[in-house]
């Protein structure tokens, strides 16, 4: 990334520069602005609060729904399955909790955490506040990969194919964004839009061609995302992926910090820029692939959550990543709970709910960046 490609970093109307020496800054009105200062809360309490909030979210979300369950019943049902000595729950209620709602809620939590992590990592690596697996086409690519192997009927390969699809879409987006110009945020988003549309069309085509039942519903659930079909198998796929890849990403937190001022600065801080970028991007594709394999392409989780959390934690990734993951988990559980209850008994694809929340945030981000070096 050449420094010459972003010449307009200085403020549009440069303030009168002053000597920044100690004595003179002390007299400057801007030396102690309340708005500009920031102190960070400690990490451990934030994570503890996040974990408690997630546990409460899961218990309450499982209880919400037509059967009229109480949170205590949910806790007793889960406790019973975990081998704890608790008062038994009526069999029907136990089945609703353990076989239907808990897998769905846990899948939502894992997918939310994975998508939010993916967004945070992509935004840092590309220095693009709009980067997100959905906007840059990874999710659609993963959907296409997944439905492509569904034709063959090998559902065991589903996550692998989704990963391959995400990776191909990632490479395609960046190759397209780089043709004939520098890799700017807006070019990247436009390229992502093109790749995303192509993959969505491919997904629809494949389903129309092959589906025997309700193909519209199936297309919707791949393109907008749905957690309706969640099973313990989806919990396992999404949970394992988010635990392992999330752990590796957390180990790369310092390297991600180094990208704050761009590739050259990261290189000068001793980071192998190209290797780090492609390793982390591949991990993001892996994570996105696993998430899409169980839930379809749910949008805007990766875009919204990192921006919401960064104001709480600050941009250091050692703090940002774990809290973004927790917040993503909580967010998607509630979004899915809304999706399945608002128009009960009718169910919305959860992607509609996340889009309703995500698009205004997208607009705010665009507005905030007005006049900055977008191009």
């Amino acid at each position: 990334m050449s420094t010459a490609s972003r010449p307009s970093i200085q403020p549009a109307s440069p303030p009168v520069e002053r000597d920044a020496r100690v004595g003179r800054v002390g007299r400057d009105v801007r030396a102690t602005p309340p708005a500009g200062t920031r102190r960070r809360t400690r990490l451990a309490p934030l994570v503890a609060i996040g974990v408690v909030a997630l546990v409460v979210t899961v218990l309450v979300a499982v209880a919400i729904g037509p059967a009229g369950l109480g949170v205590d019943e949910v806790a007793r049902s889960i406790g019973g399955h975990l081998g704890l000595d608790v008062a038994p729950v009526p069999r029907l209620h136990d089945a609703i909790v353990w076989d239907l709602r808990l897998p769905r809620v846990l899948t939502a939590a894992a997918v939310g955490a994975g998508l939010a992590l993916s967004g945070a990592v992509m935004q840092s690596l590309t220095r693009n506040p709009l980067a997100d697996p959905y906007l840059l086409g990874l999710s659609s690519g993963a959907s296409l990969g997944a439905v492509a192997v569904l034709i063959v009927g090998v559902s065991l390969l589903l996550p692998v194919a989704a990963f391959a699809g995400a990776l191909v879409a990632l490479v395609a987006t960046f190759a397209l964004a780089r043709t004939g110009g520098a890799l700017t945020p807006s070019r990247t988003v436009l390229a992502g839009l093109a790749v995303s549309q192509l993959c969505a069309a491919g997904t629809s085509l494949v389903i129309f061609w092959t589906a025997t039942g309700d193909s519209y519903r199936e297309i919707l659930s791949w393109l907008l995302g749905s957690l309706a079909g969640s099973t313990w198998e989806s919990v396992a796929i999404a949970g394992v992926a988010v635990t392992i890849v999330g752990g590796v990403l957390l180990g790369q937190a310092v390297r991600l910090d180094a990208f704050a001022f761009g590739d050259t600065a990261a290189g000068a801080l001793g980071i192998d820029v190209d290797r780090t970028r492609w390793t982390l991007m591949t991990l993001v594709a892996l994570l996105t692939g696993a998430m899409v394999a169980v839930s379809g392409a749910i949008g805007f989780v990766g875009l919204v959550l990192p921006h919401a959390v960064v104001s709480l934690t600050g941009p250091a990734h050692r703090r940002l990543l774990p809290l973004t993951a927790l917040a993503g988990a909580i967010f998607l559980v509630w979004a899915d709970t809304l999706a399945r209850t608002v128009f009960d008994p009718r169910e919305l694809p959860v992607g509609i709910v996340t889009a309703l929340i995500g698009v205004p945030v997208f607009a705010v981000l665009l507005r905030r960046r007005q006049g900055a070096a977008w191009s």
Binding site: T3, P15, E17, R18, A20, A268, G270, G314, P315
Partner: protein
Amino acid sequence: MELSIAGVGTRLGGRWAVDGVDATPPSGHLTGLLGPNGAGKTTLLRLVAGLLVPDAGAVLVDDSPVHSLGRRARARQIALVEQESSSTVPLSVREVVTLGRIPYRTLWGLDDDGGAVDRALEAAQALELADRSWATLSGGERQRVHIARALAQEPSILLLDEPTNHLDVSAQLSLLAFVRDLAITSVAALHDLNLAAAFCEHVLVLSGGHLVAAGHPADVLTPALIRDVYRVEADVLTHPRSGRPVIAFHEEARPATTLASDTAAPAPASGTATPTPTSDRTPRSTATRAPIAASNQEGR
């Protein structure tokens, strides 16, 4: 810590952006890296920083090649302050400076910095900015914070790419005085010849990727060299107080060559192609560029 640039060259896009540069910036002093736009200053700095691997020659730190050092080891020796470096990340000043500790961190982000961040902030006279948001700083303050970040790397060699760009006179002077007084081996790419003359112990002049002169500014910055390299007529005076060279540029003595060639004014036949007799030393730097820069700060 001895920095030596030994026959270094690199090809970018099929041409030698830096070609056969031999130089030894004096240890513990500020060296100015001069030359017109496109002369290869930034590329040479990136080579010295180990960010580019040379296609010929080597950059040696205490006789070992920079690109054979490990990345982290190298980042503890050499720090680079880029020309214009911005971030969309909402960092505080202290967080920006702490980035300089990355070469010292373990996998889990632990670093016993022993107060290095505070020392760097203090050295760069940016301690009182520590809790400010980086986005609210002025250009001069940002540059200081970038230098503090570089100092947090505790480097023995500091590289700066046009650190005075976009700064007002006062900020330019205080910044370069500060770097000079750091007493670590520093190399700064500079456009302003008068700043180089005033603050640098040593200057290297690049033109078309070649090193065309090196030495003390008083010896190097002569009217002939300035004419050869920058295509500008100048007189070199002596500063009444410091005794250092002061370059006074003048436009009118220069034949009306490239400036006039686009307008109706009849240009002298010898003018457009070879404005001075020594253009063979600087084959690339002239033909495409209009040498309007009678002022000492080339606009970008």
